[in-house]
Amino acid sequence: MSRSLVTYVAVGAAAWIAAISAGSAAVPPQIASCASCHGAAGLGNAAAGFPALAGMSSTYIEHQLYDFKHGTRDNEIMKNMAIGLNGAQRKAIGDYYAALKVPAAKEPDPLPNGLGAEIAMNGDWGNKTTGLPSCDSCHGPYGVGVGDEFPRLAGQPKAYLAAQLNDWRSGSRKNGPLHLMSYVASKLTPAQIEAVAGYYSKLSANPNHLPKPGDAGGAK
């Protein structure tokens, strides 16, 4: 107990120092507790399945905190974290993580292929417009994320990505604009979820260079 508290404080302090040295604005006091799972640099914890927050859109993070508080995204730990936050605090936390940089890294070579890549880049339409669109068609090439509302998938822990898709399927996560992900996840099979989560977890969260689309092994 006391040991975890020490870790907690130490990690929080490290995050605070990192942010100061990066020249960021004042660090919101909640960051210490965020950092215990999401990492001092906001890069998440792949082994434990905690997602990276660094470089995500501020709006997206704000919305998730709101949704954890109000139950449209059901997660016991995050509910406890979010329940006491007001709008200004959510915004401050979102701004803090949005400003943290993700170190640039190359895409793996060769790029992952197979079912996960197929779903990510082509979807599974079944020749019907009600079929499954590709993930990249909203989350951007190689899942780098698009704008405020379509978060980065690249480099997120496999367990995290799979859990989100399963939560949307089961209905325990029902947030997000236009319920798009609820529709999309309902079209995925368990094997596709496993494969596509694995695919994105292998990609660089901040590729310093995107392979030319359509190149062999590259994005469709």
């Binding site: 082509n122 979807g123 339409w125 020749n127 019907k128 417009t129 009600t130 079929g131 499954l132 669109p133 068609s137 909203c138 951007g140 090439p141 780098v144 994320g145 698009v146 704008g147 509302e149 379509f150 604009p177 236009l178 319920h179 798009l180 529709y183 999309v184 995107l210 030319k212 689309p213 359509g214 469709k220």
Partner: protein, 292 residues
Amino acid sequence: MRGSMMVAATLLVAGASVTGFAAAPPDKPIAFNPPPFSAIPKGKFGDEVKLGENIFRHTTVYAHGIIGDRLNCSNCHLNGGALADSAPMWAAYPAYPAYRAKNKKVNNFGMRLQGCFRFSENGKVPKLDSPTIVALEAYSYFLATGAPTGGKLAGRGYPKLAMPPKPANYAAGEVVYKADCSLCHKADGSGQYARGQTVFPALWGNDSFNWGAGMGSIKNAAEFIHANMPYGAVGTLSVQQAWDVATYIDSQERPQDPRFVGSVAETRTKFHDNKFSMYGKTVNGKVLGAQK
């Protein structure tokens, strides 16, 4: 009963005696599934098909310098032009050569593709034997593998849409747009991009199709939207909403019709004289098509 059997038998005999063509194309649309992308053959021809697929899906990259907007072919022909009810290339390819009222002549398939570059891509028109057109033809030919010519394929174009219960309305369309479209296409219609690549296409403005494009017809746009949008949540917009939002989108300013004949009024009379085009109409105090 016996009569119809006799007719059937006669037809069978007649059919057997005919080689190479049927007396009349069947009335019923023919169901067709394109080959999987994994069936693209190896070798020179396969390379051309793959190039065509790349041009089709990543037009802004592979036809850079030809096109004048930021639209990929696959923005209006989903799943790389392989999807039924999303104007699939496998249904278009075997439908040409055909007469087109738009340019009042018989067009072969390459000429039809040229039309897309001129209007939907607001670009230069590649020559019929240019690498771009040839590759797109190769890709479309591949997608149409096994498709019959001369008959109507199910899933061609966009599905016909009933007229709306109430007249289509700009203000109602604006409400739909803000609620269901602006998330991806942005309130100003400019679309969204990631790492320089088009993710959500511009629906109006300089990065979108010009006034001569098929999608500038409210009817076409409503049909596309109802059958294909929102991405992943098809079926959530009513017929009325599709018509309303198509009216809103097609009442915004966009690049000039390349067939412009000197005045907006004359250009409307010549090319837009129908109730589905807003070109030359006044919306919010401005004449559409009068910009530059």
